[in-house]
Symmetry: C2
Subunit: 251 residues, 2 copies
């Protein structure tokens, strides 16, 4: 049985304001919830239908599990095809930068990415290509937005996401900085070295003036056809893939 | 003034069945409609609000333009933020394959791609990287679905899309065929030559057994991190980018 207060709490978490207030976010779906259960995240509680509960296997004894009916589940789900599994997860406490790790990696910096689907796809893609840290400008869409969580397909459970003013971060990092810009050097002729910061800009406006000034290397994905632009998750993919290629097979 | 019959016709075009029946599809937004106006597509009619009409510049004299109110426009728009510009465009008549052109290119083959956003992003990305032909299996989502049209950002106006049984096409093409598969050769060590067929599989199931048997080269995007899979538009991007790189800078 689901109380009105529980429904109200859970549905409020669709909004950033209430995620901050309660320190919780929503993860839905069998696979995604299992990924969070085996991650460093702390699970607050798990809501399942009786049928979906059987797909979850053995759960930690301490975990607060609430079994509800399918019609109750529809009241809390944000998906058009609910899978019957929804976890409330504690937001991570803001962490200090792990400079020792950051300095040895290529790290993605996102300058005001707005679309939840784009951010989710970027997080999933970054994980595939072995980029463990994503640093977001304060204006980037919240990574704990349910649409972002969904699009990461579980990768959010393992990738470290930071929100911080990017210009400060770039200054402190003192690492080579590469920006996705027009009229830069071809990405295929750019040597990304062993570590660096890769800056991707906003969907409509690209990298902001303030951040562009801190970029050491303007890098461009050469255009062969007539498309006016690339989707930002697609452009990020080209950067991640090229960096991975260079590390595997130095040219 | 918009008649009930007009509203009913336009909204019916959200569905493939009625697009086929009327031979029409919907293009929305100032930029996308302008791209189709300057393409080989035949425009049936254009609906605009008075305000949005001013953003369209000079239009062909023969074009049937209907100015409607903002509240009327909301009845026909499929977008959450309507821009006040909607064109009905004639579906292309099914064309014979342009083998002379196909044989000199890398062509994308899509084996039952289901998500409209993925297909739209693939069309836009293919155009950026200079891939002018996309051959879709009969089970692939309809490219004239309004969500696909929207996601192509105008690229649909210029890219040739064919729907045909893929196995037959591959047999007739007699070109080297590369398939995105697990446990293949690294994409970064694959030589794509000057022309070929690049097969991308369904979101959940990958390339079907029937098509896999026709693939000459199994190609894999090496995984560095722990993500279980890549989004299919992201995987297609890696193929398009690597092919473009090899053509620009033979390694």
């Amino acid at each position: 049985m689901l109380s009105k207060a529980q429904i109200s709490l859970i549905t409020s978490l669709q909004h950033k304001k209430f995620r901050k207030q309660h320190g919780l976010f929503i993860v839905e779906g069998v696979k995604s919830v299992l990924e969070f259960l085996s991650s460093e995240y702390q699970i607050h509680s798990l809501y399942t239908t009786a049928e979906a509960r059987t797909k979850m296997g053995n759960l930690p004894q301490k975990l607060k599990c609430i079994t509800i009916t399918t019609s109750e589940f529809q009241k809390i789900s944000g998906l058009s095809n609910p899978q019957g599994v929804l976890a409330l997860v504690h937001l991570p406490t803001s962490e200090n930068f792990d400079w020792a790790s950051l300095k040895q990696q290529h790290n993605l910096l996102l300058d005001d990415i707005q679309d939840p689907g784009n951010l989710g796809t970027i997080i999933r893609t970054a994980e595939w290509f072995g980029i463990p840290h994503i640093i977001c400008s304060m204006g980037t869409v919240d990574a704990y937005n349910p649409k972002v969580v969904q699009a990461t397909m579980g990768s959010l459970a393992r990738i470290k996401i930071y929100y911080t003013p990017l210009a400060d971060f770039i200054n402190r990092a003192e690492m080579p900085t590469y920006g996705a810009l027009l009229d830069g050097k071809s990405i295929y002729e750019t040597n990304f070295g062993n570590a660096g910061l890769i800056v991707m800009g906003n969907e409509g406006n690209g990298i902001s003036k303030e951040i562009e000034e801190t970029v050491d290397h303007a890098v461009t994905i050469p255009r062969v056809g007539n498309a006016e632009s690339l989707n930002v998750a697609v452009a990020t993919t080209v950067f991640c893939s090229e960096i991975a290629r260079q590390k595997m097979k130095p040219s």
